[in-house]
């Protein structure tokens, strides 16, 4: 290279005060960690709720004294009411989907590592980035308030203006009971639709609207950063697959969240301003005809919601796919199999995701012709998904695998993605969906593929990038213990769900005692609950490992995993301006492991062209050496 490799050093000083440095920080790394901490907090709420649900399903009518203290109206006398159970379902889903699966993978790891991996010193719009986090945070607070807006006298009084008799219900609820999908007309009617459907739902909608805005700001930043701020030599096809995943996810968020926002505004107007977007006329609810509304279309909400909802599940899982590809290649010490195919597949999955929302609505009475179209489009997502799966397997094939904790979780991701995705092919067919719709089979499908697989992707990412973020390694033994129990645990929980679904056990029922045909499933229900409690408890090991290693973990070097991408060129943790004012220059692709003739088994992206290596092999075109058109 004749040109100077590095520009003159021009450093940005980090801010001094505590508030500018850690609270209202403009640094994408701090914001990323803030997102991760938000997700780590939110997931505790979601996890405790799922354990409570399991307890109620297994031991209905049992007295849990602590619940009587915490939720005097939701669980009067310590016995969970049915409305309480339904509100757990709603809040578990909402918290997990929005504040865990959307925040940690994209806002957390994406924020932290996308700028570093493309060689930028920060996001394109740092102020928007900060706002994006704090807006999301406010959304979370509002959602938590939604739990207490009814059934809690203090909080209820704050929001007394927001819905009829915000707290006076006292019928035993902790929040909205309509599920995370919030289908009208019941979600649009207010108090009359049942306990928890008053002020709680208003706050729930407002929280989601706030979340939409936060996500949109984030997506705008991600896309602009990736297009505008890649460093010298970082062509699109030299980006790590993680960046491709975050980029695709940002596009999905950018185009799908506005639709949910629009739907949310319409729903809120129906509830608070007396419009009739979703409320049909002559509705008979809770023993009375709903007055003053006419002509609305409840199905319209379903279309708007699922036009957002389906891309949303890819928003949750695509970053996990990116992290998995990255980590598999690193610990297999092999280049990712079919880099280009991986890029096209992730993009194809993202784009196809916009045309399949109807498969959530097969039983809504849609025309069989559109159902067939949606069905075919849905099944066609299997093609790029299979490309990804086989390329992951191809990467592992014949490799000398280093079984570190992040690698185990990445392999776990592949396993769960296949196990959960295969039932997508079942549910994507209208005739089968007619039977399985709203049974535990669906619950099994989306928990495995979108919930747990995404979480495994995030676990893998956490164990993998922790040394870079905090300069210390997480404990491997604890990590492996955490992996094996969790891995076996999630299968023990969700595989029986398939069986329950096949015998027709419906979702969202608080208890099944009255149903003769479900009597035989009780041992299975019990088994799942025990597995769920064990799996949930083991997550404490992860939390302990996370916070203990932050201070006491073994010191990590700059590149403990012998990985190749740009973040491993810089100190751990990285300095405020990432590359200390130096513009990194990229000469090769992201996954150059085990290059024949190279001195080590990995080559950093910044290593100048190994012309001598290629020449010695008589192949001048190798190693992505085309980076020197400049």
């Amino acid at each position: 290279m004749a040109e100077a490799t590095h520009a003159e050093v021009h450093r940005h000083e980090p801010p001094k005060g505590f508030i500018r440095k850690y609270i209202f920080s403009l640094d994408h790394k701090v914001i990323g960690i803030q997102y991760i901490l938000l997700a780590l907090t939110a997931v505790v709420f979601g996890l405790v709720m799922s354990v409570l649900m399991r307890m109620n399903l297994t031991w209905p009518g049992t007295n849990w004294p602590i619940l009587a203290t915490l939720f005097p109206t939701g669980a009067p006398g310590g016995v969970m009411s049915d409305a309480f159970y339904l509100s757990l379902v709603t809040m578990h889903g909402t918290i997990m989907v929005f504040f865990v699966l959307t925040t940690a993978p994209q806002g957390g790891f994406g924020n932290y590592f996308l700028p570093i991996q493309i060689g930028a010193d920060d996001m394109a719009f740092p102020v928007l980035n900060m706002m994006s986090f704090w807006v999301t945070f406010v959304g979370f607070l509002v959602l938590i308030l939604a739990i207490f807006a009814e059934g809690n006298v203090t909080v209820g009084l704050w929001f007394a203006k927001l819905g009829e008799s915000a707290w006076a219900g006292g019928s035993g609820t902790v929040g909205p009971i309509g599920g995370w999908t919030g289908y009208p007309p019941l979600s649009a009617l207010g108090k009359i639709a049942g306990p928890g459907q008053g002020a709680g739902v208003n706050l729930w909608i407002i929280s989601i609207a706030i979340f939409c805005i936060g996500s949109l700001l984030g997506a705008l930043n991600f896309i602009t950063t990736l297009l505008n701020m890649r460093t010298r030599g970082m062509t699109l096809m030299r980006m790590p697959l993680t960046c491709w995943a975050w980029f695709t996810t940002a596009i999905l968020a950018l185009l799908s969240f506005p639709v949910l926002l629009g739907g949310g505004i319409l729903l809120l107007l129906d509830r608070m301003a007396g419009t009739s977007f979703f409320i049909p006329g002559g509705l008979y609810v809770s023993g009375a005809t709903v007055p003053l509304h006419n002509g609305g279309s409840p199905l319209l909400w379903q279309h708007l919601f699922w036009f957002f909802g389906h891309p949303e599940v890819y928003i949750a899982i695509l970053p996990g796919m990116g992290a998995t590809s990255h980590i598999l290649s690193t610990f297999a010490r092999k280049p990712i199999f079919g880099y280009r195919a991986m890029v096209f597949a992730i993009f194809a999955i993202g784009m196809l995701g916009f045309f399949v929302w109807g498969h959530h609505m097969f039983i809504s009475g849609m025309s069989p012709y559109s159902a067939v179209a949606f069905s075919i489009l849905t099944l066609s997502i299997g093609v790029p998904s299979a490309i990804k799966t086989f390329n992951w397997l191809g990467t592992l094939w014949g490799a000398k695998i280093r079984f570190t904790t992040p690698m185990l979780f990445a392999i776990g991701f592949v396993s769960l993605f296949v196990a959960g995705g295969i039932t997508g092919l079942v549910l994507g067919q209208t005739s089968l969906d007619f039977f399985f719709h709203d049974t535990y089979f669906v619950t099994a499908h989306f928990h495995l593929v979108m919930g747990v697989a995404s979480i495994f992707g995030m676990f893998a990412a956490t164990y993998f990038w922790f040394p870079k973020m905090f300069g210390r390694m997480m404990n491997e033994n604890l990590g492996k213990f955490h992996f094996w129990i969790t891995f076996v645990g999630v299968y023990a929980i969700f595989v029986p769900f398939h069986a329950m679904g096949m015998v027709g056990m419906p979702r969202r029922y608080a208890q099944f005692g009255e149903y003769e045909f479900l009597k035989n499933t009780h041992p299975l229900v019990m088994f799942v609950t025990v597995a769920a409690i064990i799996t949930a408890a083991v997550q404490l090991v992860f939390y302990f490992n996370f916070f203990w290693s932050m201070f006491k973990g073994q010191k990590a070097g700059d590149n403990p995993w012998e990985a190749t991408t740009l973040e491993w060129n810089i100190p751990s943790p990285p300095p405020h301006d990432n590359f200390a004012g130096v513009v990194p220059e990229v000469y090769r692709g992201p996954y150059e492991f085990s290059v024949p003739g190279a001195p080590k088994d990995f080559m950093m992206q910044t290593e100048p062209e190994a012309a001598e290596v290629a020449a010695s092999l008589g192949e001048g075109s190798g190693n992505g050496g085309n980076g020197h058109r400049h």
Binding site: T224, S256, V259, R629
Partner: protein, 228 residues
Amino acid sequence: MAATVTGTEQVIDTTVGGGLRSRGGNGFPKNGGGRHDEGGDSFRFSADRYRIGVWVAIGSILMLFVALASSYIVRSASGNDWQPIAMPKVLWLSTALILISSITMEISRRSLKHQRDAGYGRWLLITTALGLGFLASQVFAWRQLARQGAYLASNPYNSFFYLFTAAHGLHLCGGILALSYLLLRTTRKRRTVEGELRRAGAADAATIYWHFMDGLWVALFFLLFFWK
């Protein structure tokens, strides 16, 4: 087998500078990866980020209005209670104001491009005034309808009318904020090349956004009053 190190080898072009990469690696001319003619901070900072950012934002705002417009079309066919209101005449004035403001905004941007700072500031001010005039005219239309007893909830058509005008007005307020910011900045001298680039980028972004607001209003106007 050095050639199979990563997938990147597949993108090697035989013709130098073919495909995406020849355009700076990302399909946008002259920015992003691979650019090699600049160094240091000027390499770091590219004013293109404002233009890219505003196009991305437009994509998202467009999706919001597409969602609402689809709802409008679906809802218009789903009940027997759809009663379009007669268009308040003042909306013609609104439309004229925003169309003219697009022209003045463009004049302003071109003034900056040709280093006519005074013209830039003056036309920016005129555009802002026209934008405020548009908003005033919209509010006037609302008051007129309210006087006739056409409220938000009286009819689904009314609901959509108020919703569309309010959502568009809110986004236009964002545009006016951006213009005000640019106006405030006209008083400050810029000594660096980067400062000048930054201003040009911001002015371009504001112009693009403003044209979008203009086009969006015209589309909504047609949807609300001429679409059957």
